[in-house]
């Protein structure tokens, strides 16, 4: 049965699913949805792909499903995935689930909101948010990143222990995002930095492929920051 994945390279959970499918050797067709051009807001997308008008979406045969974590679980049930990114063992799976549920209103919400307020909305409106108005968003992101380091990275090389799982993929894709807005999540967080580099290395070459556009935008943002200091 055919599996189609609708994604945009600037959507964090889109990248997570892309990397998961590729690292698991699960065949799929990649369908690009240009969020910047508003393709997800079209009537055609709403009626034929997803009423939620977001990415990622998968279509498996004629079954349409949204929400990256729900998709991860569905695909893991439907495919005998050749690795342990989403473990079958009940307790190990519960540990991965525990992170994937925790992240929504922590790492995901707070890194994404900072990225949105600092980089995305100014791109659309042409108006930058003042430092004062940006500060609460930055504080919440910093708190989440510190919590992430303290609560999740203290017991092994990866989130649930010594083995890389989907939890690490989902976390890393969110934590890369504020780099576009000029924030370095690795600065003064040696444990997080070591973990992030472990994840990048373990998932090569899929990880850097999924982050090609992001890394270009990070480079641009770094150059802009450096030139503004001259």
């Amino acid at each position: 049965m055919s599996l189609k994945l609708y994604v945009d390279a600037l959507s964090q959970p889109s990248r997570a699913l892309l990397i998961f499918l590729q690292a698991s050797n699960i065949p799929f067709t990649k369908c690009i949805v240009k969020l910047g051009a508003g393709e997800h807001l079209s009537e055609e997308f709403k009626n034929n792909i997803s009423r939620f008008q977001k990415v990622p979406v998968v279509i498996h045969g004629d079954f349409h499903l949204t929400e990256s974590v729900a998709i991860l679980r569905y695909i893991s049930r439907e495919n005998a995935a050749p690795n342990n990114l989403y473990p079958k063992d009940s307790k190990l799976q519960a540990r991965v689930d525990e992170y994937l549920e925790w992240q929504h209103t922590n790492i995901r919400a707070n890194c994404a909101m900072y990225f949105r307020k600092k980089w995305l909305e100014p791109k659309i409106t042409g108006e930058e948010l003042s430092e004062k108005l940006l500060l609460p968003y930055e504080r919440r992101m910093v708190d989440s990143l510190n919590d992430f380091e303290n609560l999740w990275l203290s017991s092994g090389a990866f989130i649930t222990g010594d083995t890389l799982t989907a939890a690490d993929i989902w976390a890393a894709c969110e934590i890369e995002q504020p780099r576009i807005a000029g924030y370095d999540p690795e600065s003064e967080r040696p444990v997080l930095s070591r973990w992030l580099n472990n994840v990048r290395k373990s998932l090569s070459p899929h990880y850097e492929e999924a982050h090609t556009l992001l890394n270009k935008l990070v480079q641009k943002s770094t150059m802009k920051k450096a030139s503004s200091k001259l």
Copy 2:
């Protein structure tokens, strides 16, 4: 193997898990954690129950797990639950998961934040938030409730169709919460109101038992509102 559930009656996901376990006839020991008295913030709780210092938590044998949705899945795997609140069929389960993932940054985040700002924080600090500062929280909650009605309740009596599932329990427990703060989610939402009453009825008597304290607080809030209008 013994199953202990740590809960507080004013925690929405605590109520959801309580109702799920009772409606599924899964035996467990209920352990009350008084959030109002800060019991979850003690060193004893942090070291012996959960490093996250939140409820709900389950301890199954010596396995400690947080995050209500992760707990729901774990318990459903470990127990041959006699009903279909968390369906075994892969596609039906994906539909329940889709809602449980969607709700985190929608219904859960926005109803809980309104409750927090309007009722909980003034209880702690003694200072009420001005209507102007409360407005963005109310708007986000109203948008989420409207989205919930439009996106999830248009195809059947329950969220995923004609059968009650865990998605309905988790949603209803969140949607009850702002009632404590004097907001009626059923007002001008006939579809949501019909659904909510279906859920309450289908899960009787566990549902009203879990909501005893909440309904007392709602009554108090309604009386306060009425007397301020005299």
